[in-house]
């Protein structure tokens, strides 16, 4: 196609094929991107980092041709223009892999890659030429080192594999530049490694990658160059040997921010919940044994698919258990549904904030009072005043940034949404609370607030369990770390033993 031709006539490797010069974009009252310049050479991996609101998405939109910059020029193969169109961006060989994947999980890999562009056969019948379709997808999968075939249904693939399908799709457009928007935020450690390998493979084939991420460790490992944005401005461009975690963080937020372990205020208390020989639906033949104490934060690490979320769902009464038992304060309990778990004082902040944690079409107030609504209905009807009063208290307590507690939760930012989920349970005075990926997809500032809140809860004697795939977070926040591997606990590490190395070994099922 056009891009193949463009590639052959493009300047010899090493010369930038894409240049942004002095690009600026403002929205009413906000300078989203100020005098941004960047050049992309073939086979370069460029990291773009910055807090939410730093201007990353605006940059992506400009590159995708969705938004026109106010000023500046975009040069492709030496031809300057004011703005890209969506088609122009595609023709220039720019492809996006978004954080939320746009795959049809009822179709197979090949169908997804060529959706809307299926090869046809049988003349006027124009039926899909399945053989040709599959044959043309295979080379892309080979290039990515994919362990699945074109006929594998997407629903059977892991998240990283699904991203590979998206990348294969990008390659099928003869892309020269693949933009990965937060690709690792939902990936477990081992899958992240796989993705980084894929990036290295793309680089080797002369395909450039722009890597947008909150997870700085991966940025350090993957990128040749990093551009740090803050409030729309480029605050630093780090070349390969300058790229390091602390420098990026310094530039991003203008303050020191690694996850600093905060020790508990007092020694941990008695066992709050004890899981004994518990078997969940996902691993009906594996037994989980685990104690969570009052006053501690227990990290639960492991690869995605190790059964951590399923354990949380079982503890919260969402999924029935296959066997074994749970003791709360030494008393055996069995929850028929989540309502029973809530009654017993066990709360869950689920991993999928938008689909499970919140009702996006309800207001912040309505979300906060939902689990405990009867308390706000002294007589027959719900008292709006009592609800609003609680919402105001929650807003102050958690510093939820909105002027109106009657706002629809869909219009809050990710960090504030997560605080609303938390507020639901804090209003009910938790004794045992489980966080499943509490900081996924939220910005650095909100993250550290969530960590502080968790520590605050533990210090008031609450038993906290945090499921996380973010190594930095697991090590930086937990008092102890339990690691899951294929449905069972492969080890529990005390604070002193919590190292990346130890956790990784246990996560892949090896002894320390």
């Amino acid at each position: 196609m056009t891009t193949a031709a463009a590639l052959s006539e493009s300047p010899e490797a090493g010369e930038p094929f894409l240049r942004l010069i002095g690009v600026r974009k403002s929205y009413p009252g906000v300078l989203a991107l100020a005098d941004f310049s960047m050049q992309v050479r073939p086979g370069e991996v460029i990291g773009i980092v910055g807090e939410n609101g730093a201007g990353k998405s605006t940059l992506m939109k400009i590159l995708g041709g969705v938004t026109e910059p106010d000023r500046g020029s975009i040069e492709i193969d030496g031809v300057a223009r004011d703005a890209l169109t969506v088609n122009g961006s595609m023709a220039a060989g720019i492809a996006f892999v978004h954080q939320e994947l746009n795959l049809f999980d009822n179709l197979d890999v090949a169908a997804n890659v060529y959706i809307g562009r299926e090869p046809r056969r049988y003349g006027f019948l124009r039926l899909v030429d399945t053989e040709k379709l599959q044959a043309s997808v295979q080379p892309f999968l080979d290039r990515l080192g994919a362990a699945f075939s074109p006929t594998t249904p997407v629903s059977r693939l892991s998240l990283a594999q699904q991203q590979m399908v998206e990348i294969a799709k990008a390659l099928s457009f003869n892309s020269r530049l693949v933009i990965l928007d937060e690709p690792t935020s939902a990936l477990p450690i081992a899958e992240t490694d796989k993705l980084l390998e894929v990036i290295a493979g793309l680089k080797a084939h002369g395909i450039s990658v722009i890597f947008v991420s909150h997870r700085l460790n991966e940025v350090v490992r993957a990128c040749d160059r990093v551009i740090v944005l803050r409030d729309g401005r480029t605050v630093g461009t780090l070349e390969e040997d300058q790229i390091d975690h602390d420098t990026m963080v310094q530039l991003m937020v203008g303050r020191e921010l690694k996850v600093d372990y905060e020790a508990p205020a007092q020694a941990r208390g008695a066992v709050g919940i004890s899981v004994q020989g518990l078997r969940t639906q996902s691993y009906p033949f594996q037994e989980v044994n685990l104690d969570i104490h009052y006053g501690e934060i227990l990290g639960l690490a492991g690869l995605v698919g190790a059964g951590r979320t399923e354990l949380a769902r079982a503890l919260f009464g969402i999924d029935p258990i296959e066997g074994g038992q749970m003791l709360v304060n030494g008393e055996p309990v069995r929850f028929a549904n989540s309502a029973a778990a809530v009654k017993a004082g066990i709360f869950l902040v689920p991993e999928d904030r938008k689909e499970m944690g919140l009702l996006l079409d309800l207001t912040m107030t309505e979300n906060i009072t939902l689990p405990d609504l009867r308390t706000y209905a002294p007589r027959l009807t719900v008292s709006r005043e009592a609800e609003a009063a609680q919402a105001e208290r929650s807003r102050t307590e958690l510093d939820i940034r909105t002027s109106d507690v009657g706002i629809l939760t869909s219009s809050l930012s990710g960090g504030n949404q997560q605080k609303v989920v938390l507020a639901k349970w804090l209003a009910m005075r938790p004794r045992i609370i489980i966080f499943d990926e509490p900081t996924r997809g939220i910005d650095v500032g909100a993250k550290s607030e969530i960590y502080r809140l968790m520590r605050g809860l533990a210090d008031t004697g609450v038993a906290v369990m945090m499921i996380s795939s973010d190594m930095e977070e697991v090590i930086g926040v937990s008092d102890r770390v339990a690691v899951m591997h294929e449905g069972r606990i492969s080890g529990v590490l005390d604070r002193a033993e919590c190292s990346e190395h130890n956790i990784l070994r246990l996560a892949v099922g090896k002894p320390i």
Binding site: L359, L373, V382
Partner: protein, 354 residues
Amino acid sequence: MLKKDFGLFALIIVVGAVVAIINPRFLSPINIANTANLVGLFGIFAIGQGFVIITGGIELSVGSIIAILGVIFIDLIANQGVPWPLAALAVTAIGVVMGLIHGLLVTKMRLQPFVVTLCGLLIYRGIARFYTHDGTAGFGFGVSFPNLEWLTTGRTDLVSLVTGGAVPTILIPHSFFFMLLLAAVMWVVMHRSVFGRYLFAVGKNEEAARFSGIRTTRVIVAAYIICATLAAIAAIFFAMYTRSILPSGHGSFYELYAIAAAVLGGFSLRGGEGSIVGVVLGVILLQVLQNLVNLLGIPSSLNFAVMGSVILIGVIADQQFKQFQERRRTLEAARLAAAGHHERHEQPAEEPAE
């Protein structure tokens, strides 16, 4: 929500005014009383349908329930000599059980509401016809139940009653008053009670509701019970109104009237949206439209076509209005941002367009 109800109300007034100008009989006491009666009868079960629709479900067996329970009710009081309060209680209890079964099939067996209630539609209709050997169920000559008849088909002139007969107005059928009372109670249930809030939450996102510790199964089953129970009560009213029931046709398509009324009243078939005022106004509009067909000399065979067209136009207008509002809200947000209300964490700065 209120604004939408107001729009529907205005539409009813406009349509009513047009009909009244063309044919003044529209405002005659007899016509008003008749229309009020039909609004009452249809309103009773349409309100029930609303509860199911809010959960994202649908109840297609309403018409068949009205047929089968009407036949049973008449048989009990006319042929079996059961005292009518007992018969009414029995029929209502059967309604509760039907709703319970539908609800359990939908929640515990995870069957689709459409399928469950479609089967209900067929089964109940079939049993109703078998029950009477495909004949008509009715009252023998001279059989009467004064109290029951007063309650269901009696008429009272409220204004006249209040003023001691000084200002005679229109005799309004009791079915209408019953429906109003029911609507008032159900308004509190739907819009003010804990159960009502759960209903909307479950309808919007059942998964998230479950993760908030709501017993979603209970909420959904309760909605089906409310629906079938109100259909059972409506069955009694219809039986007393028609006084004879041919089970092959009695109540057929009524579920569709109810669904149409709910949709007109702003319910979303995806669940989570709707109001009692809306569904009642929807019922009124549908009855006014039927009335319009009769009074304007439009061939009554076009009845459904008129209804369908109005609903379609209404839904399209509503959709357009929503899009207009959406655009306005976006502009408003941009203007607010310009006025310096921007906060970094409140709205990601880079995404004002979303």
